[in-house]
């Protein structure tokens, strides 16, 4: 059964006062991950097809065509995992 770990290579907490989280998708699965996310989230803005400003269930985030996404103000690991499950699977 496919799960979040099949898509995600690593999750990093950012350094700084902002408690952001950067999700790095596995290189071989990044196109599929991006396609899945774009199907479900609402695009608010996009630049040259490489950066997408998105919202999904009141959560705003940015997705980069390099295969990374930055989420702001996610409460905890569980909340992030639940969000990723909904977006990716």
């Amino acid at each position: 059964m496919v799960n979040v770990d099949d898509y995600v290579s690593q999750i990093e907490g950012t350094c700084g006062a902002e408690k952001d989280v950067i999700v790095v998708f596995k290189f071989e699965k990044k196109d599929e991950a991006i396609a899945n996310i774009l199907k479900k989230a609402t695009v608010k803005n996009k630049i040259a097809g490489i950066i997408f400003e998105l919202t999904f269930q009141d959560q705003s985030f940015r997705l980069y065509s390099s295969g990374k996404a930055i989420f702001r103000g996610v409460k905890n690991k569980q909340a992030l995992n639940s969000l990723l499950e909904k977006l990716l699977l």
Binding site: T14, C15, G16, A17, E18, D20, I22, N45, I47, A48, I50, I51, E53, R62, Y64, S65, S66, K68, I70, R72
Partner: protein, 345 residues
């Protein structure tokens, strides 16, 4: 080869002789070595350690740890609005209680160059030692430890084309000789003689610099750093400095044309090296870094291990571009082009 690397590095920083060059894991370990070996034995209640607010955490945290154990005070010198050191405040806080002054030669956030020779002179006049964090200076400009007359200088291999996990603590022979070892084990002892009658071991430390190099050393790291130093020597550190300053000047000039970009640090290039920290109006530094990453350009985002300075600047974080010998003007052009893309966000 290991000892030849030491000699080469000693020559690179113009140390009188190579026994003042101690191989460590990096700048952080070098400062910890001084804090634990010298600090634990020489600092106590009523003493003060003077650092600046622009320091990297590695020149703050070891002193804070030792201060808790020994009860001395740490004084933080202020910076001006442009990130340059407030020399008046520094001198005001340097007093006869100050036992050691710990200052970065170059700020890893703003690129500000501190006049460590002047500060060292004042420190010595007050009977204090001078420790310089050279992590951002030794790789980027000519550094002469004899001329600067510093007691300790710390720097890292990975910031100067060398491997990770290797660095140097330079120390004056007369200061290092009075210090106890930082770690115990093999290599750092001359003798561990067991007295059968007393059932005790008598230990005699090894000579400098091996007294501070317990255990199997990072041989390949030291040789790698030696090779990096040879390479930089061949280019010439004056040329390295000149190249970076040219790039910084070129980048700054073009960055200042972008209204959304705020550069942190002095505008006067004579006061700084090729490190440019900046913020983009309305964007987190991590967004900025990810955007650059998308184009294959690496910059740093966050606190850069200098949270106190960011607090003074009232910043949650910052983005940082830095230049080295391998960067070109064409890469700066690319950097500026990408910066323009940010206008659309």
């Amino acid at each position: 080869m290991y000892e030849k690397a030491r000699e080469r590095i000693a020559k690179f920083i113009n140390a009188k002789n190579s026994n003042g060059v101690v191989f460590v894991r990096g700048t952080t370990e070098a400062i910890n070595l001084v804090a634990y070996s010298w600090g634990l034995n020489n600092l106590g209640k009523g003493d003060e350690v003077l650092v600046s607010i622009m320091e990297h955490h590695s020149n703050i945290v070891p002193w804070e740890i030792i201060a808790k154990l020994k009860g001395f005070e740490i004084k933080y010198s202020k910076v001006n609005n442009d990130g340059t050191l407030d020399y008046t405040d520094f001198e005001r806080k340097l007093c006869n209680k100050t036992k050691i002054v710990c200052l970065s030669h170059v700020s890893n956030v703003t690129g500000v160059i501190n006049d460590v020779k002047l500060i060292g002179k004042i420190a010595h006049e007050n009977g204090a030692l001078m420790l310089v964090d050279g992590a951002q200076s030794v790789p980027h400009m000519p550094v002469d430890v004899e001329d600067l007359d510093m007691d300790f200088m710390a720097f890292s291999g990975h910031k100067m084309l060398g491997p990770t996990g290797i660095g140097v603590l330079y120390g004056k022979k007369e200061v290092l000789e009075k210090m106890s070892p930082f770690q115990g084990g093999g290599e750092m002892i001359r003798e561990v003689a067991y007295n059968q009658r007393k059932e005790k071991c008598g230990i005699v430390w090894n000579e400098l610099p091996w007294k501070f190099e317990a255990g199997t050393p990072n041989i390949e790291g030291a040789i790698g750093l030696g090779a990096a130093v040879k390479y930089l020597d061949e280019i010439g550190m004056d040329n390295v400095l000149d190249h970076e300053k040219q790039l910084a000047k070129y980048a700054l000039k073009r960055m200042q044309k972008n209204n959304k970009v705020v550069v942190h640090g002095p505008e006067n290039l004579s006061e700084k090296l090729g490190i440019i920290s900046f913020s983009i109006e309305g964007l987190s530094s991590h967004d900025v870094a990810l955007l650059f990453d998308n184009y294959g350009v690496m910059i740093r985002s966050g606190y850069h291990c200098a949270q106190p300075l960011h607090q003074i600047f009232k910043l949650d974080s910052s983005a940082r571009a830095s230049f080295y010998v391998y960067n070109t003007e064409a890469e700066v052009d690319r950097f500026i082009e990408i910066l323009k893309e940010l206008d659309q966000l």
